[in-house]
Symmetry: D2
Subunit: 208 residues, 4 copies
């Protein structure tokens, strides 16, 4: 089934050379929510993405989903359980590239919706100033962040999720760890490729 999802793009998807006008005949929901209604125009096919990923850094967004109390303090930190390419289950965060002609805010909303479903009701940030910039290199060890597919430059945001989560696509489940407990340390340690470091920086920024 075609999905708006940069991890498993379908043949024939493309976003090369598209103009804004090409989105005129689809509803915003097709674009932003992006599930189950077929592909929007302007989606790069799998081969193209792979090629570009070896040629230029890819702009990414990474979202640390959290539950907050009435005072805005982080009470729980979310992480995703996903099926990785080799079939094993891995713990990670919400992450995805910014599409051509897509705003960073749209990319945040789309990727949250893709992983958590349409009723997560995220509280998007008022400013695009990220709490950190994570540089994923295709070579391990250059930075704390590693992505074998590409050089990705990720703007990282903490996003409160007050609604219900309905994991979908490759996301099997969302787990919420208490921000104060020891379970969180375990959870962070289970994240590969530097995602745990992003959670650590998020907590330091939030003062949690």
């Amino acid at each position: 089934m075609p999905v708006l999802n940069d991890e498993v793009p379908d043949e024939g998807d493309y976003d090369a050379n598209r103009r804004r006008g090409e989105f005129d005949h689809i509803t915003p929901e097709d674009f932003i929510r992006g599930s189950g209604h077929g592909n929007p125009p302007g989606w790069l096919d799998s081969g193209e993405i792979t090629r570009i990923r070896r040629e230029t850094p890819m702009p990414y967004v990474v979202v640390v989903p959290v539950r907050v109390d009435d005072f805005g303090r982080i009470s729980k930190v979310g992480s995703l359980l996903c099926v990785s390419e080799d079939g094993s289950v891995e713990r990670t965060l919400i992450a995805g590239r910014v599409l051509y002609h897509e705003s960073v805010r749209e990319a945040i909303a789309r990727n949250i919706s893709k992983d958590l479903g349409d009723i997560a009701l995220p509280t998007l940030p008022q400013s695009l100033q990220p709490f950190t910039v994570a540089e994923f290199f295709p070579t391990p060890g250059i930075s704390p962040f590693y992505d074998p597919r590409q050089h990705a430059i990720a703007l990282c945001y903490v996003v409160p999720i007050p609604g219900d989560c309905k994991p979908q696509d490759e996301t099997l489940d969302v787990e919420w760890c208490d921000a104060q407990g020891e379970q969180l340390t375990e959870c962070i340690d289970q994240m590969a490729n530097g995602y745990g470091e992003i959670v650590r920086r998020a907590l330091a920024w939030a003062g949690a």
Copy 2:
């Protein structure tokens, strides 16, 4: 009527030397929402505050109330119409000092509640990293910010207000200006003592 309000403190109010435990017999609502149930313990009287204000900088919070759209973008900026000490009406923001033993988050929540009422449902920030620090001096011209009563160091936050506003105490009304329109420039120009500059910095930070 006694209120938890640093602008019109009642005789006998104090917060010197109080310990956390002194709040044990009042409900959190007395402390945070602070209206109509009598004074909590630990409130400084008017003379004491005046004296301290001439001796040490006062830690303050300033809140720019905003309405945001589904993508977190600021759509409207709020400002307060208040009666000033000389009886004229002035346009300003939500501002107040941090009380002894009060957290910055509690101060933000209390001051919003004091000006906008109990059902404003503010979305408090996840991080205490302010978008700017405004230094109000009792001498005009040293900085863009001026407060004849004191030297105040204000941590400034943008806070989305999704709920209803019921202005109270000295606050006569809350006005919402479109973030894109020319009305906002007028609104900013009407603010005295540097509050307009705080709104300008908030909009620059938010990319609005």
Copy 3:
């Protein structure tokens, strides 16, 4: 003359598929400073860049060069006078894409060096948290930022320049405007494509 410069890449330049090791036989200066010693390996040719620019957002850095006083306050704001593609002179900031396998810090240093020369002695930021993220779209009017060539996502930094500037390549000159004066407003108004807005946000962030 071959230069390490993404505006006028030479035929045969490439950076596709390169690995870190390919830089082993050149000195860091070739890579970072990048002038006069021929091209480093791994540079994309002009046609490739043009193609990628129509397919995916390009990660960029934008630098607002400033002079600061002993207290870190911005005293002067720099802007570049450059020859644009149509031969006219335009006022702009230091901006350039992040290369494949290059860190954001290296991109900042390289682009400053490219425009201001090797003895500008920039004070690079301690954190990669940018003061703003500017989204340049190839369609005018979607955001305050416009780039006809591409969709660029620019991390924006204020960088003090205590050293001497020796403008080179397309940069004709660097002009320094007093941060407090009216000249700065003129200077900002002369910048096209949203660069003036970046300066405004930089000044708001810096409290200048």
Copy 4:
């Protein structure tokens, strides 16, 4: 010996009710550098400070001194060895209150100078946006930060120190730990009252 130092104020010192003009007859160095030339006017005496510290939160600055490389990356983190009130040696950071009528930038410069001497040549931040706000309460356990004397609200900054350090007053020595090594963890663990947590947040913010 009289020093401009809020830890050991001399009798007769005061800063109550002072106006800017009262500094007219002393040189900026007296005020900012503050060592060896007698007390400037406007300094609160010891009893007054103690009293105010029990009545209102005190605005503070905390500085994490660092050494940085050419790319702005933190290479070493500094910490102070000081004699505490009970005579033992403790490891801490540069910290001090903001004086009445003093700007936050002046407070940062003065406190660095007080602890590290006049030739430390600190690179003060361009923006007053702190990387974190540390709330020190006089009751342990309310936050990670504890100060038995007072409720202090500390704006925290990372400040590169390229010059030489000449520790003075209560500061016995400055130690520099490699930002990457295990020694840093030890160093952080030796800091009491939450200062280690401030260093952790500084490193997270800086991506170190």
